[in-house]
Symmetry: C2
Subunit: 354 residues, 2 copies
């Protein structure tokens, strides 16, 4: 696989260059892109001796690290990182290279977007989830005590480098994590994804299709005024699961459970056929999913209150009417759903997984 | 005075509506604009019983307050405010109304720009300085231990309400503070400002010209890639004075001293004539300016290191070649200046004010 695609987000004035391929970090193209810049690499600390130190040495760049895990995605960590960047004397022409999984991409992207009112940014995702989700679409994010991603910016990186050779050493659990977002893309947009995943859930073509799907959606609605909302399928319940688990559950796993539950809800509300739901359920039941230890229905219902899609306190959910198609409701891409139906969906979910 | 102007920043997709006039907050127009929205007012705590509680009651809006003074412009205050907003259940359609001086405008604007990745924002500046500076141009800002405004975003408000009736109760010191930025606009862009100010420094026409000047500059370069830099005239030395004074000195006062010093530097480098500099010096010497108690030349030279205009560690300064005209250097609007010349300028400044 050796693909190079150039995309231009309509979000701002920055054109984002997307590089997608195998062994990209060793390629002459990338070396050139990166060597031309004054860079600081900010990597997940777990990657320090794995890839980060080597890359920093190759580029003659400084290296900073951030802690691993969702709990690192806090304002305190962001503040500390900004202090370190200012301390080392970054200026507005210093490119920040984020190297790591979704947490690192979200956190470092946020810091780059607010430090000196915006530093040039290059994203190098190292997990499957980050390749298909966090790295694409220009969103940065920080969690708060009230929920996930409640703080953030829309900020385009100058380049995204998706090097699938990182996947060779990806732990089994991380495949499942990425698959949650990939299958979601199958449910809302590209039905061929489900068929591919049924045959071989590690097919590299899944990465390409998920990334292409996300780009196609984001390009139509970079600021999430409408269509882009469909990317939130599975996320109303997914984010709430993450919040109540105190981020013990992985994002992709939470989205996988959320996607199954919101498919159930789509059927329960009369939009999705029983046949298609059964097909979805069959695929998801093959995955090693489980509810978090701290799961409690009332805590989940409470967590819905802080969902970013809510308007006037009403919980709104993205729904599908067939595999590969999210629904539009009068210009909106989510629908207010009653507490009763949400509760019923959780009751069903508990029967499956508790 | 009853002016309504509509401006559209090219920064993003939001069109900013500018209302400039007398007794606007009592006008039917404004009432309509604000009553149509679900609002939260975030006001400087010093205004709580002066205007804020009354406005909140009139609009049926919730009221939050932030501390007064530059020290409030910290990430800790921002974090606390975000927690309060989330706690009260804001959603992406809740408009945040910032009511106060420059500190409140910068801080609340920053919070609105990152909370839920951006809430609709309306700015109501209550000081002369905030009317001509912080409220116009789409910049938000937070200070760090390394210097002023080192964290921030570019984020357009939906409306700016400049109600000059606030100026009736403006303390004398605050006139001086606003005049610092107004006179700067005269030096870099609109020579008629200096002539007006010489006659009557409280002429309301000064507000209009300063705001119009800033809009004209920002519209040509919203993202500060070039021309907009000229707004930083007086700010290299001004910001450094603020930093070393630990924000004891007011921003406009620091900019006034900085503008005079950078006019001296412009002359010293051979760009500004002795005659025009003498005219500037004469006007500035009539103002009640003084260096901060904590002034020390070596601390100031050190503070220059964190200026946002720096590239590769070189301090860069905006210069003027005549009253009303900032200079362009080969596409750039600031020039690298040696430590020697900076030191010489500070030596001169100390002779005038110490």
């Amino acid at each position: 696989m050796d693909i190079k695609r150039s995309i231009r987000h309509k979000l701002g004035t920055v054109a984002t260059e997307l590089y997608l391929g195998d062994d990209l970090l060793g390629s002459a193209l990338l070396q050139k892109l990166l060597l031309e810049r004054k860079c600081v690499i900010v990597a997940d600390v777990a990657l320090k001796n794995l890839y980060a130190a080597e890359l920093a040495a190759k580029l003659g760049a400084k290296l900073l690290t951030v802690p691993s895990g969702e709990l690192a995605k806090r304002l305190e960590t962001a503040t500390h990182l900004i202090d370190q960047l200012l301390q080392m004397g970054v200026d507005k022409e210093t490119t920040v290279i984020a190297l790591g999984g979704g947490v690192t991409i979200d956190l470092v992207g946020f810091v780059a977007s607010i430090c000196l009112r915006g530093l040039p940014l290059i994203l190098i995702p190292t997990t499957l989830l980050a390749m298909v989700d966090a790295a694409v679409g220009g969103k940065t994010a920080i969690d708060t005590a009230f929920g996930k991603n409640l703080i953030g910016t829309l900020y385009d990186p100058e380049a995204i480098v998706i090097d699938v050779s990182f996947l060779k050493t990806l732990p089994e659990k991380e495949w499942m994590n990425g698959l949650g977002e990939i299958l979601k893309m199958g449910l809302i947009y590209d039905p061929s994804i489900l068929a591919l995943a049924e045959k071989n859930p590690k097919d590299q073509a899944l990465v390409v299709r998920a990334v292409e799907g996300k780009i196609a959606i984001v390009e139509q609605d970079p600021k999430e005024r409408g269509l882009r909302r469909i990317l939130n399928f599975g996320h109303t319940i997914g984010h709430a699961l993450e919040t109540v688990s105190q981020y013990e559950i992985a994002h992709g796993e939470a989205v996988a459970i959320g996607s199954l539950a919101e498919s159930y809800l789509s059927m329960r509300l009369g939009y999705l056929s029983k046949e298609e739901f059964d097909q979805i359920e069959k695929l998801y039941k093959r995955l090693p999913l489980q509810l978090p230890r701290l799961y409690a229905q009332e805590k989940l219902l409470d967590a819905f209150r802080y969902d970013k899609k809510n308007i006037n306190g009403q919980v709104r959910v993205v729904l599908i009417d067939r595999i590969g198609h999210a629904m539009e409701f009068d210009g909106n891409y989510c629908l207010a759903v009653s507490q009763e139906r949400l509760k019923e969906t959780l009751d069903w979910l508990e029967k499956v997984y508790l």
